[in-house]
Structures are given as structure tokens and as C-alpha cells.
Amino acid sequence: MGRTVGIDLGTTFSLIAYMDPATNSPKCIPGPHGSALCPSVVSVDEDGKVIIGEPARQRLLTQADRTIYSVKRLMGRGVSDVQDELRLFPFHIDADSRNVIRVRLGDKLFTAPEISAFILRELKSWAEDYFKEPVDRAVITVPAYFNDAQRQATKDAGRIAGLEVLRLVNEPTAAALAYGLHKQKRGRVAVYDFGGGTFDISILKLISTDEGEIYQVLATNGDTHLGGDDIDNDLQRRMREKITELFHIDLSKQPEAVQRLRKALIAAKHELSPNDSTTLRFELPGGRLFDETISREVFNRWIEPIVARTMGPVKQALSDAKLAPTDMDEVVLVGGSTRIPLVRETVGEYFGRAPHSELNPDEVVALGAAVQADILESGVKTMLLLDVTPLSLGIETMGGVVAKIIPRNSTIPASAQELFTTGVENQTGIDVHVLQGERELAKDCRSLARFQLKVPPGPAGLARIEVKFLIDANGILQVAARDLRANEQRTIEVQPSYGLSETEVERMLEESIEFAEQDFSERQVIESRPEADTILHATEKTLRDPRSNELSADERRSIDESVAALRAAVATTDYKLIRRRIDELNQATMHLAEILMNSALQTAVQGKRLEDI
């Protein structure tokens, strides 16, 4: 069994964290580029090789049509859901996609969970390199306002990446967990999480009980299509209009130029957080320079409608929790977009108190995920999360009206039982349509699934099928049916409205293994060989030193044997064996290392390894 980690699978960046037993606090794991932030970007090169993270982000500027970013916005969605924004993205969406979006990268099609799985695999490899141990289980965070299909897509991504997803945790709740641990706070907390692609607000109550701390979510709300991306898209639209007006250049056929512009305006947006004004410089195709100075005042006016859109969900969440803005003991800011001064001002003004942002808003969600992973893994429970379902669950009834069976903000797991019967004689099936949302009519809610309950022919109203709807601790719906007359369990074949089937996920898991650059053990062999060479080389060199004659015959024989054993191990592909032989040789040469040291220093370096001297 391998390690368990916490993962923040973000729109712009993704992070992986673990609970450090030495300090009993969560820590983010840096990648090969030194940063803990892995850009959520995936690119496929001309040879079909998959490139992930920072190098993929570089390719946005040169290979825009083979590179995808912000894939989180496509998770659990159909083509019709994302029509508007697809115009701004350079991706090619397969026309036959319908209810599962397929993106063309090079000459291959990928679904959103597969692309997310590449990012998860990359993070997994960071952690494996860090621990020198396989990582196979994870807690993954999702926006609190994610619906069933978006959550299922995230869970599928985990499986495709070869991870057992122990739990999906809502991002604001994870942040509250990290904050609570950090500050030992009690009381009512509002978490305002404005990220790259999604917005969430969660109202929590932190309670001390004899058993430990309970983090109870009272209400949550949000918008899974509202984030820094919208600010970028708005800026892009304005700048492109200006460029067309001034230079009569239309960038729409030039994806690389669009990406360069996007990079420049994101940099300008970042500049405007600490500064009052900034200049956006962009070299147009053809060499002319587009130079635009933007003041924070103008920027604020532009983004005001986007920031205002976050306040509707905030008010709804408070009203659902039956609380007023001033009832909050703390307001916590999470997500990169909360660095924008207008966002901080708007939130501070509404709640009548300065919001907290002591923890790094980019890292705090991953840190919270690591805390929850540790809670689940260690079995030592001092904290308990009680989260809620963000959307009401309903079933379609006569006339397309939705009957709500589990209201939004119900603590999960939650369940509801419904009894179904036949309306006409000899009816052999009852159609059930499950939906999520707050609207009255089925056509205005999110369709989750349709299924048919099979019944034996008989008079109308005789059949009695009880269907149990259960939302589990991940916020994912499970359905089971039972024939009360025959007293037996019924299998239901559910056709999810959006998302992958079980068999598709299985197939993708197999394919992704082929795609994965190298698996963990291969990488370990590759890394352990140079280490073995270094110590073999150091040993040979020191054995030639005349001072090595102080070794006893036994000691020398033991070193010779260890050297031979390590050489034999390096010839294999067993990284565990190589590591063990390295350790043995280190052990055997301990005395030799001590001899080589100046006697005055000898005590100071006891226990040191030869290669360290």
C-alpha cells in the first residue's frame, strides 16, 4: 500500500500536498521546476507524446492548437453548456461530442476526465519522486457548487490516473480545515473562494465537542462558471476589439497570437493588484506594437460586473443559513482572484470586517485536502467534516414539474425514498428522470440521469417499486430500487445524462497507462543508478588512499562484497534492490569514512556517509 495525498485539481494550477508527520502540519510538494504550482495545462507533441504542466504552458505560445488549459471548465459538461466560451478558447472540440466533450489534441481525441488524469498523474509522479514510494490514494478537492456529473467526472479522472479517490472534498471546506488547524478558531466562518474558473461561498460553523472539532457546513452556493478566466476573457474581448479598431487586425485565425495576448493581459491583471496602473505591451503579428496603459480605476470598472456576480450566491448562502453578514466571526479568502483589490474591498464591505488571507490563497485548498487525507488514512480522528449538497435533488413529475426530494444544503450523506407505481394497465416500465437544481421545471434543471423501472404486467397501481436515492459523502448520487411486492432488489440501468460509462473509464485507465511517460519503478531505477555510480566511484577512490590500510581484513572483505553486490544490483531493474545495496555499501564503508577524517573532526562526523565527506 502506498502513500495518501491531498490534491487540489484547479482550473489554472493544481497542487499536491501531504501531512508531514514531523511537524504535524500539511505541506505542498514542489515539482521539478521548483514550484508547487503545476499549471493545469496539457499538450500533445507531434510524436503523440503528452506534455504536462510548465512545459505544456510554454507550448501555449507555440502550439496553441495542440495544447489545452482550463479543462476543469469542461468537466461533466456537454457541448451546448460551453458554446459561448469555446469561441475564446483555441481548442478543437469534436463535433460528435454531444454529452461528453471530446477535445482534439494533435490527431487524438481526449475527454475532459482523461486530460485531468494527465495532470493528476504528473502530480502523483512529483509526490512519488519526493517520497521515493508509490502514491496510490488521494483526496481530491472540487468546487462546492459542482453538480453530480462534475463530481463524477473528477472521480473518473482520479481512477484513470491510477488513484483510488478516498473522498472528494469541497474546496472552501478544505480551506476552512487548513485555516482552522492553523488558527485553532471557533465560531462562524464564511469562506469566499474565487479561483481561476469557479466561485464558491461556504458558511461554516466550527464546533468543539468532547470527541474533537466539527466543521459543519451550514450552507454553500456558487457558480461553477465564474472565475479569473472570465476576467481574462473580458479583457481579451476588449483588447481584441481595440486591436481590430486601431490596426484592422483580426486575431481569431491566429491562435498563437491570441495566447501571447492572453499571457500579456494576465500579466497586466496581476500587475494591477499591487499597482495603480500598468502598461500592456503586445507585439502584433507583422511586428507593430500595441501599447495600452490601464489604470486600476478603469480595470475596476471593467471587472465590477464580474465581481458583482459573486455577491448573489453570497447572499443566498447566508439567507439559507439564516444568518446575517455581521453574524460571521471570520471571513476567509481563497483562490488567486481574491488578490484583486476590488474583490477584497467588496467582500470586506459586505461582511463589515477585514477578510483573512494569512495562508497562501493558492495553497490553502491543497493543504486542507492533505489534512482530510490524513484523517481518513490514519484512523485517528480529532476533526470531522460535515458537508452539504449544494443543489436540490428532484425527480420529474406530471407536466415536467420537479418534485424536490433532497433539499439543497442537506448534510451529506443524505437520502430519500420514493414509491413508484404504474398508471395504466399492463404497463411494463416506469420512467424516472433525476434532476439537480432549484428551478420548478425539469427543463430548467440539470438532468442527471434517466432510467426505467421494469415491472411485471398487471392492473394499474398494483406495482410498488421503492427507489432509494442516496447522496454519499462525495456528493455523488447512488440509486437503488426495490420491488416491495416481490420483496427483492431490482437492478437499474442508468443512462447518465452527462459523463462516461463504467466501461469507458476502464478503457481509459488502460490507455492512460500506455501514455504515462514512465511508471514509478522505472523512474526509480533511472534515478538510483547514478546514485550507485557515485558511491561506487567514491569507494574505489578511497580504497586507493594509503590510510585505508588501517581497515581490518574483515572490513575490507565486507566492502569488496558490498561493492560486488551493488554492481550486480545495478544490472537489474529492481530499484528496491539497488537502494538496499547502496545502503549496505554505505554501512560497510562507515569506518573507512571515519578513518579518512582528521581525528579532531572524527567525533563530529560519526554516522556520516562516505559520499558526504
Binding site: D148, A149, Q152, L166, R167, I207, T209, E211, G212, I214, I375, L376, E377, G379, K381, L384, L385, L386, A403, P407, S410, T411, I412, P413, A414, S415, A416, V434, L448, A449, K468, L470, I471, D472, A473, I476, L477, Q478, V479, A480, R482, E488, Q489, T491, I492, E493, V494, P496, G499
Partner: protein
């Protein structure tokens, strides 16, 4: 959304006479007193029993909440991540039942609705939409004012005076809602007193029981009618 037969297979988890793990006699408790293993839900158990409460309608909110937290610590799926699939299923069943029960019992109105539902005297989602007879006249007037307001708005006419009369009507019905709530509280108290008598070994007065439940149902229907009325007036006023 996922569907697998084993996940919430009620056939396999249905409560039996003995503990599934150690075969000690089943007690209906959350955990077997002999071996400590989580137990299936007994058939027909109600939300009150889940919290170890009698079917009384006066419940102290603080006590209920702390009991909810205590049971959450024990039953939540977090505690069963490494347990067998069967125990994970039981935890899912019991913890969802805990949350469902708490949701129904913590709210005084939902609590009464649940009791009637559980006793088969009320169907979920169905409320009689006829106006209560004593309110017929007022309801008729109100609906007329609402129509006038809609017309005035559509024609761009003067809505100010109509708004005033509607606001007055709304206040009137709001008052009626409070009266109904008080009435419901009275019936609930009578129900609790009747239950207490029964606990003191007095014979159950089935006739009184039926009368009280029927009254609760009637008051609830009236309440839901008035509440919908107040809500629709509020939304019309907000739009005007």
C-alpha cells in the same frame, strides 16, 4: 451518479434477529453491544427512535444538536474508510438516516409533517390547495388586487395605491400565519401531554390520538396555504 448493486443493497443489509458479526441478539442500537460492530437499520424505525426519543413534538434544539454531533462522530463514513464493503454500506445507510432525521426533527414544522407522514396520515409533497373556508372572502379580495396590480403594471398604470393595499393584505395574512403557528403549537403540546399520560401506564386513548393527528393535519394544510399566499404576494410586490 453511480449505480452498483452492492452499494445500497437493502436486501443484504436488512436488520435481522442477531448481530451479523457475532450473532449476539440484535437490540436495534446503532452498534452491537457485544462486539461493537455497526448494525443495519431495523425496518420501520422512525426518526425519533433513531435519536432515542419518544414521538413527542417538543424537542430541545441544543440537546438534539449535541446528540446529532455525537452520533456523527460514530456513524460518519470517515470512520469506515478501511472497514469492509458491508460495513461501509451500513455506515452510509445509518449516517444518511442520521442526517435525514436531524433535518426533519430540528425544524418544528418539518417535525410535525414527518410524524404525520410516518403515521401514514399525510403524503409527501401534497397539500390541499383549496382556501380554508373562513378565509374565502379575504382570499378572493386578495386575488383581485393581485390581478389589478398585474394589469396596472402591464398597462403602465399607477401601481402605488395598489401596492399599499397589497402590502396591508400581506401584513394581515402574515398575522394569520402567526395565529396558525400558535394553534399548531397548542395541538403539539396536547399531543405531548397525551403521550406522557400513556407513558404513565394509562391506556392509550386511540380516539383522542386520532383527533389530535387530524387537527395537526388540518392546521398544517391551512398553514401551507397561507404561507404560499404570503410568498406569492411578496414576489409580486418585489416585481412591481
Amino acid at each position: 451518479m453511480s449505480v452498483t448493486k452492492s452499494q445500497i443493497d437493502q436486501t443484504n443489509t436488512a436488520a435481522s434477529q442477531a448481530c451479523w458479526s457475532c450473532q449476539a441478539p440484535a437490540t436495534g442500537a446503532h452498534f452491537c453491544p457485544a462486539c461493537g460492530k455497526i448494525q443495519p437499520l431495523p425496518a420501520g424505525a422512525d426518526y425519533f427512535a433513531f435519536f432515542g426519543l419518544p414521538q413527542k413534538l417538543t424537542i430541545d434544539a441544543g440537546t438534539l444538536e449535541s446528540q446529532f454531533h455525537k452520533l456523527s462522530w460514530k456513524l460518519h463514513p470517515d470512520n469506515f474508510v478501511r472497514a469492509s464493503q458491508f460495513e461501509r454500506t451500513l455506515s452510509l445507510e445509518r449516517s444518511s438516516q442520521l442526517n435525514d432525521a436531524y433535518r426533519a426533527l430540528r425544524d418544528p414544522i418539518a417535525r410535525v409533517e414527518y410524524l404525520l407522514l410516518h403515521l401514514g396520515l399525510r403524503k409527501e409533497g401534497t397539500t390541499k390547495q383549496q382556501p380554508p373556508p373562513e378565509l374565502l372572502e379575504e382570499v378572493f379580495e386578495l386575488n383581485e388586487s393581485l390581478d389589478e396590480l398585474r394589469e396596472a403594471r402591464a398597462d403602465g398604470g399607477d401601481v402605488a395605491s395598489l401596492r399599499r393595499s397589497l402590502a396591508a393584505a400581506q401584513a394581515n395574512f402574515q398575522e394569520k400565519l402567526e395565529e396558525v403557528d400558535a394553534e399548531l403549537a397548542t395541538v403539539c403540546r396536547e399531543w405531548d401531554i397525551a403521550l406522557d399520560k400513556h407513558a404513565d401506564d394509562a391506556p392509550v386513548d386511540e380516539a383522542q390520538r386520532k383527533v389530535l393527528l387530524a387537527r395537526m393535519n388540518e392546521v398544517l394544510n391551512r398553514r401551507s396555504y397561507i404561507r404560499n399566499l404570503v410568498a406569492s404576494v411578496a414576489s409580486e410586490l418585489a416585481e412591481a
